[in-house]
Symmetry: C2
Subunit: 233 residues, 2 copies
DNA sequence: TATTATACAGTATGATCATACTGTTTTTAT
DNA sequence: ATAAAAACAGTATGATCATACTGTATAATA
């Protein structure tokens, strides 16, 4: 009797409550360990939170919306995240991991020229900055300015990101010896420029406009790159 | 009898309810026109909204907080702003006006060199980007990404800002003739870089760090400036 | 001066928020 | 197989939200 009720509930996840995620299907997995159950549910909730932050903003990512997006109950949420800020911490960690995984995938050509850098920046713009990771990351960074708890959770991942970007840059982006800039400086400035640009995407300008601006940034940088500079090394 | 009650209420604004703004004092003004009353009250509410956005974020700037910050009642608020988004529109217009007034005040030296540009950027960073205007503007821009109404209200002021910045730049920031960049390009990129940097201020890095980064940006730009470039005009 | 419109005060309402709480199902341990 | 623990479902609660609403004070108008 009661079992029938539960089955009906579970089926409803795939129909009414769920929007994007796959419905929970225990039968296909068979017997799952508690560790698996936990991990899957946590991932599910974090993914839903990211979707909610992206579509409704940091403050608009309410528990109600998150659990509805995830297709689970409030109880499941509260079991894994006793307080609201804890799920944002998990979101921050996931974001950093995703970004690095994605950047690691796109290994640029060695011996980069201005053209290679241009391609990399356009790709990062499309795939990271204006994508879900970048949008959600910007939401969290801005929230951190008025919410000290969020700031504390973001500090470590952000520093780690800056460091790793710097290391990656030294291998991939050679700079002319005569330039006062280092590879790390260049990626840091490029990162900030792209992030600043991203704020203006809300104005719904022509996407081509932003790509032209990226080209201009590379033009600005060109004298500091080895092959394009007349006085470079 | 009733008059006494009102006097007590008005006095209380200066003591309990008010935090930053001056208390309302009808006696000193004598008889005020309705236009004046309206304008003063609107300014008062907009200023309070800006303070609330700066300290609590866009979503945290609730009507309760705004009217408490302004030291007025909810009725006054609702009389002037029938819906929440209308006060944000007023805030956006005020911000743009304030920024241009402030930028107009600091007229840089003519015949700008890299050093002059450096000074200008440091000043803009301190006075605008990391100041209340910049912080609140960033909040609104990010809110616009998930709130179409805010985006509509922000579009005109933002475009106007971009245009005016471009015009001001052409007069003030000469670019080497050999450079593919224009003065407008440079200020646009500089603006984005500073705004991107501003997001990282939530990490509470050393303020000197950001100023060093501004110097690096100017270094990056140096080959495109007339006096600092060996091949400049 | 009397009337009317506007400005403002203060409370009420329904929705939504984060979270607490109880009960059921599923896994683990014995 | 059975007891204990963990995962999860669903509802309840008190706070806060935007806004509606009624009443009073002040300015404009006659």
């Amino acid at each position: 009797m009661k079992m029938d009720v539960w089955v009906k509930r579970h089926q409803s996840y795939g129909a009414a409550d769920m929007t994007t995620l796959e419905p929970i299907n225990n039968a296909s997995h068979g017997r799952r360990s508690q560790g698996d159950r936990s991990r899957v549910m946590r991932d599910r909730l974090v993914t839903a939170a990211i979707v909610c932050i992206e579509t409704h903003g940091y403050a608009g990512a309410s528990v109600s919306r998150i659990v509805q997006q995830a297709g689970v109950s409030r109880g499941a949420y509260l079991h894994h995240f006793r307080a609201k800020h804890l799920i944002f911490k998990a979101v921050a960690l996931r974001l950093v991991g995703d970004v690095f995984r994605r950047l690691g995938d796109m290994e640029p050509n060695q011996g980069s020229t201005a053209e290679d850098l241009r391609v990399v920046l356009h790709t990062i713009w499309d795939a990271v900055v204006t994508g879900p990771e970048g949008r959600v990351f910007a939401e969290l960074m801005l929230a951190a300015r008025t919410d000290e708890v969020v700031a504390q959770h973001l500090r470590r991942p952000a520093f780690r990101a800056l460091r790793l970007f710097g290391w990656g840059a030294q291998r991939r982006i050679p700079i002319a010896k005569t330039s006062p800039l280092t590879s790390s400086d260049v990626v840091r400035l490029a990162q900030w420029t792209l992030r600043g640009m991203a704020l203006d995407t809300a104005l719904s300008l022509d996407p081509k406009f932003f790509h032209r601006q990226i080209d201009l940034f590379v033009d600005m940088l060109a004298p500091h790159l080895p092959s394009a500079s007349s006085n470079g090394g």
